[in-house]
């Protein structure tokens, strides 16, 4: 099979998330590329939740209109998802609670008979899926055993029952590719930061960034990381800046609401020249908005938040591999230039699950910290050509390290002196000039599709895979900036050379990337915007782009 989509849905609390990961791992074993989209409401029990697991022969990061198998643990899976069925979609459902056509299996009574908790319905369902996909039982059992660590025997027994009750509809064949790790954007981001030398992660829970906190807390011991969950996002950013002052690399993670609370600290980082990495996971707003859905509404906020004028780095990865690499870049460059760096993700990237090929990890920019030589008086804010002052940290003799949120002299004491005020402002902004040179030296803009096409679709973040797949059949090139501040205009212009038409695709209502490009002198012809929190399907977007292409 070239590709396969499996839908699994139920109520929140039915274990859909874990079940979909297992389906992903199962298909992964056959050498497919995997993408999992999770759709869940902001509550713990009740409500409808579902995942779509897609397997394909090429790299993917979006889902299609219809699914090939629909696993229904509750009636909503049928009533709310009629549009996801094609003429041959196999529906497997718990016949004790769901009315449907297709393959009914009495999962609830099966689990009851075996004396298991209700949540084990999904193990029996997975057994049924294995049969539907034509997998040999032994192969399925091995994978299930490796992943179901609790109550393994009972789980396996139930899966076996589900397997026996189902029929074969498809024939999954092994692909010519070894299975690759599958992980979420957040997990990749966490590992990318760790690999680049992170010392501490400080965060207050907020979807869609909480899973970074959970993941790093779980692995803090192995990674030798300090992971701290303080009283508020204000404390979070201030603690992280305390870490930076003491010479330890810290990152923080949040969403829009938490980032609002961090903006005074962000501006402080700009003034005091304290490096910090902020993960800003976007979800629809304003305010609390839709906590568990996706958006791209914080681009301009990230760009202009915080009082005063200072340089910042903003990167926006579009899948797990980019999250790994660009979070490492963000950490390295935040330290090299002593400024705040923001990793702008969206819920679809943050909580989407992708394949990740560790062999394809790109080399990070060298860690070239400008450390103080140790001679003479230490000046934390020493004037230099690049604006970057040599670094030293408190704790060693022969130096006094003073940082300051007020305007300051080179040694860090407060000043209101007129020429010095101008000089220091210019010093800080000079770092931004050095930073843009560095960014233009990296592959900060990617081009996909037909590179000579006259129409360019420009997208960012999770829009990447969606746009690339939606334009496969169109005469279109896809341009994706990975760095949004400072904007890599040289690379962007090169990527757009020879186009007659530029169409922007993004998940917000005011075309924020389009506004930013206009400021950079790039003329945008059309925008395709979505702002309902849900990712579009490949087909929906393809149709909109096709209609727009001149």
């Amino acid at each position: 099979m070239e590709s396969l989509s499996v839908f699994i849905g139920g109520r929140a609390g039915d274990g859909i998330d874990q079940a979909s990961l297992l389906i992903g791992k199962l298909l992964n074993q056959f050498g497919y590329y995997i993408y999992i989209y999770r759709d869940y409401p902001s509550l713990i029990r009740g409500g409808h939740t579902f995942s779509i697991v897609r397997a394909a022969q090429a790299r993917i990061g979006a889902h299609r209109q219809t699914v090939d198998v629909l696993l229904a643990l509750n009636q909503d899976c049928l009533d709310k998802h009629k549009d996801k069925r094609h003429s041959r979609t196999i529906v497997v459902y718990d016949s004790d609670v769901v009315k449907s056509d297709g393959l009914g299996i009495p999962l609830t009574s099966m689990v009851k008979e075996a004396g298991g908790p209700e949540i084990m319905r999904n193990t029996a369902m997975l057994g049924a899926l294995a049969k539907v996909l034509g997998l040999p039982w032994e192969k399925f059992e091995a994978i299930a055993r490796a992943n179901l660590k609790k109550e393994t025997e009972l789980n396996i027994a139930l899966a076996r029952k589900g397997y026996s009750a189902a029929d074969i509809f498809y024939k999954i064949e092994a692909q010519n590719k070894p299975p690759l790790p599958i992980l979420t954007g957040n997990e990749a981001l966490a590992l990318g930061l760790s690999a680049a030398g992170l010392d501490a992660y400080v965060a207050y829970p907020m979807t869609p960034s909480s899973t970074i906190l959970h993941f790093l807390a779980e692995h803090a011991d192995e990674l030798k990381l300090k992971v701290i969950h303080p009283e508020s996002e204000i404390a979070v950013i201030m603690m992280a800046l305390g870490f930076a002052y003491a010479g330890r690399r810290a990152a923080v993670g949040t969403s829009g609401g938490g980032f609002c609370l961090m903006t005074e600290g962000l501006s402080f980082a700009g003034m005091a020249e304290l490096p910090v990495v902020i993960v800003l996971g976007q979800r629809p707003g304003p305010s609390t908005g839709l906590p568990t859905y996706s958006s791209q509404t914080e681009l301009l906020f990230a760009l202009w938040s915080g009082q005063g004028e200072f340089s910042r780095l903003i990167v926006a990865p579009g899948d797990a591999e980019e999250a790994y690499y660009w979070s490492g870049v963000a950490l390295r460059l935040a330290w090299k230039y002593q400024l705040p760096a923001i990793i702008l993700t969206d819920k679809n990237v943050a909580e989407g699950t992708y394949n990740f090929d560790p062999k394809e990890i790109k080399q990070l920019p060298e860690e070239s910290l400008d450390l103080w030589s140790g001679s003479g008086e230490y000046l934390r804010y020493q004037e230099t050509a690049s604006g970057v002052s040599p670094l030293a940290f408190p704790g060693e003799p022969g130096r006094v390290v003073k940082i300051n949120s007020y305007e300051h002299e080179e040694n860090g004491t407060t000043t209101e002196d007129r020429p010095l005020t101008k000089k220091m402002q210019e010093k800080r902004l000079r770092k931004g000039i050095a930073l843009i040179k560095e960014i233009e030296g990296l592959e900060a803009v990617k081009v996909y599709g037909r590179k000579e096409a006259k129409t360019a679709v420009v997208c960012w973040g999770s829009g990447k895979h969606l746009c690339v797949e939606a334009t496969e059949k169109l005469d279109v090139r896809v341009v994706m900036p990975l760095v949004l501040s400072p904007l890599p205009l040289v690379q962007l212009r090169r990527a757009l050379e020879g186009t007659h038409q530029i169409i922007i695709v993004e998940d917000n209502a005011t075309a924020q990337l389009a506004q930013l490009l206009k400021l950079g002198g790039i003329k945008v012809d059309a925008v395709i915007l979505t702002y309902d929190g849900r990712p579009e399907t490949v087909e929906q977007l393809e149709e909109k782009i096709a209609r727009g292409v001149r």
Binding site: A200, K224, G242, P358, E396, K402
Partner: protein
């Protein structure tokens, strides 16, 4: 640590001068007793109090209004060998950033917090603070406040602080002893320092009359400390106890984050990837 280059910008007669002088002596003595100056970090909020870090040639972190304590926690957790002393204002830390104070006490993180409690926002010209008395007339409350003051020591005792004292800038010998004791205390220590603002709330006469040296109670007894703390509610005309109210030892938050534990992450990450197949 006395460089004298930076002009001192406090009003003549300000209680902060005494604090600065005592701090110089304390740091000199601590050095002689084996606390190297380079391992000391001073953090400060924003307000008249905070200027003290500009006047001491010691490592410093001049933070934001209300946020010095949270930053100081980060510094301590990053490098637990550092001695972190935090100078904050009453508007700054009993108002704007109160939550950080409460949580730092709750964690019993090893910090010393000195609250320059002048009971006004001095830098922004004398508005009322959480410890101004009921009816205090400032520029934001010309008719007098309609709220009772907070007893910060009572709050912090409940929050879990393991060292609590009250000092007075006119009693410099006692202040010196308290500061040293607080700095050497392994855990969260706070001194509520009655620091007189001569311009906006001159309480010298009142503190001189009502202040007395606290002696004779059991510092390790929570209830005894509490009853001493409650003697004066920052509003009444009661006697004002000066000295140490409470001191006990409990495990500190930072003790769980010791060391840098540098590790080669590559093999660890490789192993994690393998588990994700």
């Amino acid at each position: 640590m006395n460089e004298g280059q930076t002009p001192i910008l406090w009003c003549p007669g300000c209680g902060n001068f005494a604090v600065l002088n005592v701090m110089r002596e304390v740091l000199t003595e601590l050095q002689a007793e084996g606390v190297p100056l380079e391992q000391v970090v001073l953090a400060a909020g924003i307000g008249q109090h905070a200027k003290i870090v500009d006047y001491l040639k010691v490592n410093s972190f001049y933070a934001l209004h209300g946020r010095a304590v949270a930053a100081a926690e980060g510094i301590k957790l990053a490098n637990p060998r550092l001695k972190v002393i935090v100078f904050v204002g009453d508007g700054d830390s009993y108002g704007e950033g109160l939550e950080h104070l409460i949580f730092a006490a709750k964690r019993n993180i090893d910090l010393t917090v000195v609250v320059h409690n002048n009971r006004v926002y001095a830098l922004t010209t004398g508005q009322y603070t959480p410890t101004s008395p009921l009816g205090y007339k400032g520029r934001s409350t010309p008719e007098g406040t309609h709220e009772h003051p907070l007893n910060p020591l009572e709050l912090l005792l409940a929050a879990g602080a393991t060292y609590l004292a009250r000092g007075y800038n006119a009693k410099t010998e006692q202040l010196k002893l308290l500061l040293k004791e607080a700095i050497l205390h392994p855990g969260f220590a706070l001194i509520d320092l009655l620091q007189v603002c001569v311009t906006f709330y001159n309480q010298y006469d009142h503190y001189n009359q009502r202040g007395y040296e606290l002696t004779g109670h059991n510092h390790a007894d929570y209830n005894e400390a509490l009853s001493k703390i409650k003697e004066w509610d920052y509003n009444s005309d009661a006697r004002i106890a000066l000295g140490k109210f409470y001191q006990v030892e409990r495990p500190t938050f930072d003790s769980f984050f010791r060391g840098d534990n540098k590790v080669d992450r590559e093999p660890v990450i490789k192993k994690l990837f393998e588990r994700m197949v």
